[in-house]
């Protein structure tokens, strides 16, 4: 495997909550790699540990065992400051809820992401890609859910992160809007070449991914590379 193919490497990852009788193993030794620029989908039912895995990859949750190496850097070696710097430099986050700042307009919300990068993307161009250029001076509460999620994606992508972590980005959206968002993520992936790791419980989405990891009870059940992926537009569920 080349370095590009081992851009993200997870080895023997373990995580549990609680202690003693109430101890619950959430991740029971995960091993996988993600290549640079890959669109990776983490699938699994509720409680399978996919969100926990995403949080650990995002450096906002700790591990009990195993290691994570991103572009040669071990996450375990980083103190809190370095983790913040790591997130600032390399990561973009998209959540199911958009978590926008209510009294900043669309453009300003995206600027909160741009501010974190020394070399951000051009905001106006991004706004056009996001289909939000006309809405750039609107406040979040003047937008639909889909539009708000676009803003949230814009905020995450504007700093052109190496990895874009998406936690159920379509979870609160209807079918059409979900498809629009998936198309957008696809477009972003293609245009900017970010590695995308998306948590979802929607099995259909795996069809558009380069790489599909299925989790159940904290273990990887399948780790497949998708050789016949389709576009987001073609997805149906």
């Amino acid at each position: 495997m080349t370095d590009t193919e081992k851009f993200l490497e997870v080895r023997g990852l373990q995580k549990s909550f609680g202690s003693g009788d109430t101890r619950q193993d959430v991740l029971r030794g995960l091993d996988f790699t993600v290549a640079k620029g890959e669109f990776c989908v983490l699938l699994g039912p509720s409680g399978s540990g996919k969100s926990t895995l995403l949080n650990i990859l995002g450096g906002i949750d700790s591990v009990d065992g195993g290691e994570i190496i991103i572009d040669g850097d071990k996450l375990a070696d980083m103190d809190e400051k370095s983790l913040t710097r790591y997130r600032r430099k390399h990561l973009g986050y998209v959540f199911q809820m958009y978590n926008l700042i209510p009294n900043l307009n669309v453009k300003e919300n995206i600027e909160t992401g741009a501010y974190l990068s020394d070399d951000p993307l051009d905001i106006d161009e991004l706004l056009k890609i996001l289909g939000l250029f006309e809405h750039r001076y609107k406040l979040p509460n003047q937008l639909s859910g889909g539009q708000q999620q676009r803003v949230s994606i814009g905020r995450a992508i504007v700093k052109n992160p190496d990895i874009l972590l998406c936690d159920e980005p379509t979870g609160a959206l209807d079918y059409n809007t979900s498809k629009e968002i998936l198309q957008l993520i696809e477009e972003v992936n293609q245009k900017y070449g970010n590695t995308i790791i998306m948590v979802t419980h929607n099995e259909a989405i795996k069809l558009m991914a380069d790489h599909v990891i299925k989790l159940r009870d904290g273990r990887i059940r399948h780790d497949d590379r998708n050789t016949s992926k389709i576009t987001a537009k073609e997805l149906e569920w």
């Binding site: 620029g37 949080n55 995002g58 906002i60 949750d61 400051k81 913040t84 710097r85 790591y86 997130r87 600032r88 430099k89 990561l91 973009g92 986050y93 959540f95 199911q96 809820m97 978590n99 926008l100 700042i101 009294n103 900043l104 300003e108 919300n109 600027e111 909160t112 992401g113 741009a114 501010y115 974190l116 990068s117 020394d118 070399d119 951000p120 993307l121 051009d122 905001i123 106006d124 161009e125 509460n141 905020r155 995450a156 052109n160 293609q190 245009k191 900017y192 070449g193």
Partner: protein, 922 residues
């Protein structure tokens, strides 16, 4: 990936900084209230610092500019040049030597005269006896011859012949013989010896007496101490005290102290008009003129002489109008200070008071040295006056640093500054906590956003700076605006307040770094520190905790079990428990307001209470103190006034580091109708006394305790045991048996000072009356305090109500905001606004209601402590009083403020949209 197609932009400025302004705009009502409150407080305190500083500077400048005295003294008569020269030397006179010399001179003559008289008498007798012996011998010889010749001679014949011959001999020889004999006698060693012995004896007696008396004086004034001379320059500063009346104002009668022209010492700042130029013109104190509504051009009657007021001034030695330095309080209402021309001075029919001001030739370097110099100078002054040929008596000696008329205003300006500062910091503290609570609530509401930002790579520091930005910006803006207002509007308000109490000279507004530091730097730092701790402790949570809304450090495992109330009751109790920290803050805020209200309501009440009650509190309505208890014929001065009884009174001091309290010591009749003391008390020995209720309250003294009082200008202490407490609240006093009084103070057995009576005593000639104390005198303190502060207290009450409203608005807003989603949810469930309001407003109303009671109690208790601390630095005593009506007023003011706010809260609840609960659900 085609890098060419990716267009790069510029890194924008931190959008969170822009958000600070947006936050301010979004929540403008909250910030405007906080801003307004801070502006008013900072402005007022800044104004206070600026005006105080400018005033104090002008008072300081006045010391040299207006050539202020370093002290003054008053003698019983005009001093001769030698005495003044002696006093000015600042050296102690050798009192025993001078007295001894004078006494010896007098005694020598007297002794010599006495010895000479005795010797002369003896010599004369001897001469006469010798002549008689010679005459008798001659007559007997002649009669023997006659008998021998048969002439019968009777005893009677012999007697008559002897007498005749003796008279003839005396006439012929006596004078010569007497002068020869006297010459011989006076020349004799015996005579010289006797004279010398007698003189020696007299000198010994004089020495003994002088030594004893001087020792007493020396002990009293510690005259043994050796010190460098304290040379001074002495200036005549004569004045006359008279009644002041204003033609056309029949109800007004006051006292006026008119000075001869002041040209060298204790000059004045003319605030309006000019100095007098003719004998009918007068310049008076500006403060008193304001109080008595006297204007330039008005006529003023001094005794019976009219003057035209041509100027209003501030005299450098009377910035506070104290008539006597021992007065409990200044009196700008009925006491006036004035100056006329020399001819104008002669027109006043009153004794000229031989008052002299002095300045030290070598000015003291500091307060400590000033005190020491004044004590040394006093010794020089006492001894130099004692040896004065004119037998002058000292009536008064007041060094400037102890002169209330000079020091009271600057001291008060200083203490006001301290109090204003404390008030500001408490308010800033409360505001900072309100901010902190508000921001805590915001942090909870924005937990997801914070979690996302933290997850995206925002550091804690960046978020901390952002969340601290708003409070700092508000306090910074408030400080800028407050300081501008402080230097302009509020400065004038504060200056007006001081000009309403004190006779201050003109001033120049000064840039005051202290005002800047205390009203800008300190509030910002206070806001910074409090917010830093509160916000940074919240931000210590992990991004994940924020994303999960897991914000409590200690999460309650189980809900508190509630009693089986009805559903609404339990719901309200849950609201209460959930908002406990906010309700605690609400309680602190209400307590703060109640403390201010206790002052605003309690102070005028207390003053009014004493003004109304003092006349009935006095044990006798008329107390006459006589200047002499015997009239010109040596007869005791009596009165036929019914019920009048004799009493004795003197003043002692209760000395302490804070304030030397003047205590009246009364000696009363055992069967007194005015001061009824326990009969058994009169059987105790002289070591036990009664004290007044006011004494007991002010100094926490109980029956059985020991008190120590001292003579003012002497080192003599009196230690007494308190037998009981006499119910007298109008003055700090000690009571004892008149006979006991006379024994303790070495008075004659039948000594008394005057009469007590409930009906005015009118049959004693005014010339024998030294002072008359009526209820008018007793209410002086209360009246002046009422005038100086009382007027502002009503405004202050309403200001407190506004402060209460703002605090309640801010805190209840937080509570509702915290529950917005829940309120929205119960709306969805179908509850009506009225029901929801009852769920969320009633717990708050109940908290306000009960907090008010506790806060009133705390406010009253704290105020009583502050009040006592204030009274400890003032003469006299009255306890802090708050009537039930006062408490009701306090309660109503705050509750009324709450009712207004609860209407706003109701509207706020009504405006919460149902969709909110759904929108924010995660």
């Amino acid at each position: 990936m085609d890098e060419q197609t990716i267009k790069r932009g510029k890194r924008p400025k931190n959008p969170l900084n822009r958000r600070i302004w947006k936050d301010l705009r979004r929540d403008w009502k909250r910030y405007l209230m906080i801003f307004a409150m801070l502006v008013v407080t900072i402005g007022f305190v800044s104004g206070m610092y600026v005006s105080n500083n400018s005033m104090l500077h002008s008072l300081d400048d006045g010391v040299t500019k207006f050539h202020r005295e370093d002290g003054h003294f008053r003698l019983s008569g005009k001093a001769d040049a030698d005495t003044l020269k002696g006093i000015a030397s600042g050296e102690m006179a050798d009192v025993p030597a001078v007295f001894r010399e004078r006494a010896y001179e007098e005694a020598d003559t007297e002794v010599e005269d006495a010895v000479r008289d005795t010797v002369t008498g003896e010599v004369e007798q001897q001469v006469k006896d010798a002549i008689r012996t010679q005459v008798e011998a001659a007559v007997d010889a002649q009669l023997a011859q006659a008998a021998a010749m048969g002439v019968p001679v009777t005893d009677a014949d012999r007697e008559s012949a002897v007498e005749e011959a003796y008279q003839t001999a005396l006439d012929e020889n006596y004078d010569k013989a007497r002068s020869e004999a006297l010459e011989q006698a006076f020349d004799s060693d015996d005579y010289q010896g006797a004279l010398s012995d007698a003189i020696k004896e007299a000198h010994a007696e004089i020495d003994k007496e002088i030594d004893e008396k001087y020792q007493e004086l020396s002990d009293r004034f510690n005259l043994d101490e050796k010190f460098d001379p304290v040379p001074v320059t002495i200036y005549e500063l004569f004045y006359k005290d008279r009644d002041e009346t204003i033609p056309g104002k029949s109800g007004y009668k006051g006292g006026i102290r008119v000075y001869a022209p002041r040209e060298e010492i204790d000059l004045y700042d003319i605030l309006d008009g000019r100095a007098p130029e003719t004998e009918t013109e007068i310049i008076i104190d500006r403060m008193h003129a304001d109080n008595a509504s006297i204007q330039i051009g008005d006529t003023l009657t001094v005794g019976k002489v009219d003057y035209t007021v041509v100027g209003l001034a501030s005299f450098v030695d009377y910035t506070t109008l104290y008539e006597k330095n021992t007065d409990t309080m200044f009196d700008a209402l009925t006491f006036d200070v004035a100056m006329v021309t020399a001819e104008g001075f002669d027109r006043i029919h009153a004794n000229t008071r031989a008052n002299y001001a002095f300045t030290y030739d070598d000015p003291p370097a500091d307060a400590y040295e000033e005190k020491e110099m004044s004590e040394h100078f006093l010794k020089a002054f006492i001894t130099q006056t004692a040896i004065s040929e004119k037998e002058l008596e000292i009536e008064d000696y007041v060094p400037a640093y102890l002169n209330n008329a000079i020091t009271f205003a600057p001291n008060d300006l200083g203490s006001d500054k301290a109090m204003g500062g404390v008030l500001l910091y408490v308010l800033i503290g409360v505001m900072a906590f309100i901010f902190a609570v508000t921001i805590s609530t915001t942090l909870e509401q924005e937990a997801s956003v914070i979690g996302t930002l933290r997850a995206s790579g925002y550091t804690r520091g960046e978020l901390l700076r952002y969340y601290m930005g708003t409070p700092l910006l508000v306090v910074l803006l408030a400080a800028v605006v407050g300081n501008i207002l402080g230097y302009t509007v509020f400065k004038n308000v504060v200056v007006g307040m001081y000009y309403n109490s004190y006779s201050l000279p003109g001033y120049v507004t000064l840039w005051t770094p202290e005002a800047f530091i205390r009203t800008t730097i300190v509030p910002i730092v206070l806001m910074l520190v409090i917010n830093f701790f509160v916000i940074s402790s919240k931000l210590r949570l992990t991004p994940l905790q924020f994303l999960r809304h897991d914000l409590k450090k200690t999460r309650r495992k189980k809900a508190v079990r509630l009693p089986r109330f009805k559903f609404f009751g339990r719901f309200r109790l849950r609201v209460f428990l959930q908002n406990l920290p906010n309700y605690l803050m609400l309680f602190v805020g209400i307590t703060f307001v109640m403390l201010l209200l206790s002052m605003a309501v309690g102070m005028p009440e207390t003053l009014q209470f004493y003004q109304n009650r003092l006349p009935e509190m006095m044990f006798a309505e008329d107390q006459v103190i006589l200047s002499d208890t015997e009239d010109e014929d040596g007869e005791p001065i009596t009165t036929d006034t019914e019920g009048a009884e004799r009493y004795a009174v003197t003043s002692l001091e209760r000395q302490s580091d804070v304030y030397n309290e003047e205590i009246s010591v009364y000696g009363v009749q055992p069967d007194s109708a005015y001061v009824t003391l326990d009969a058994a008390f009169f059987d105790t020995d002289d070591s036990e006394v009664y004290i007044s209720q006011a004494y007991a309250e002010k100094f926490d003294v109980k029956a059985g305790d020991t008190i120590v009082l001292s003579e003012k200008y002497e080192h003599r202490d009196y230690t007494w045991k308190v037998y009981g407490i006499f119910d007298y609240s109008a003055g700090i006093a000690v009571f004892m048996d008149n006979a006991q009084f006379n024994r303790i103070f070495d008075k004659d057995e039948d000594y008394f000072s005057g009469y007590l009576s409930d009906v005015p005593i009118t049959d004693i000639d005014e010339q024998y009356i030294a002072a008359e104390i009526t209820s008018e005198d007793m209410t002086k303190l209360a009246r002046q305090l009422d005038h100086s502060m009382g007027a502002y207290m009503l405004y202050f009450q309403y200001a407190c109500m506004i402060v209460a409203a703002i605090l309640l608005y801010l805190l209840t807003k937080i509570i509702i905001e915290k529950n917005e989603r829940a309120i929205s949810m119960v709306k969805i469930l179908g509850y009506e606004t009225g029901e929801i309001a009852s769920l969320y407003l009633i717990p708050t109303a109940l908290v306000v209601f009960f907090s008010e009671f506790l806060a009133m109690y705390l406010g009253y208790t704290l105020m009583s402590v502050f009040w006592k601390a204030m009274m400890m630095s003032l003469g006299g005593w009255f306890a802090f009083v708050m009537s039930p009506e006062g408490f009701v007023r306090e309660f109503v003011l705050v509750f009324a403020a709450y009712l207004v706010i609860s209407i706003l809260d109701f509207l706020r609840i009504r405006r919460i949209p149902k969709v909110l609960a759904l929108k924010n659900m995660e």
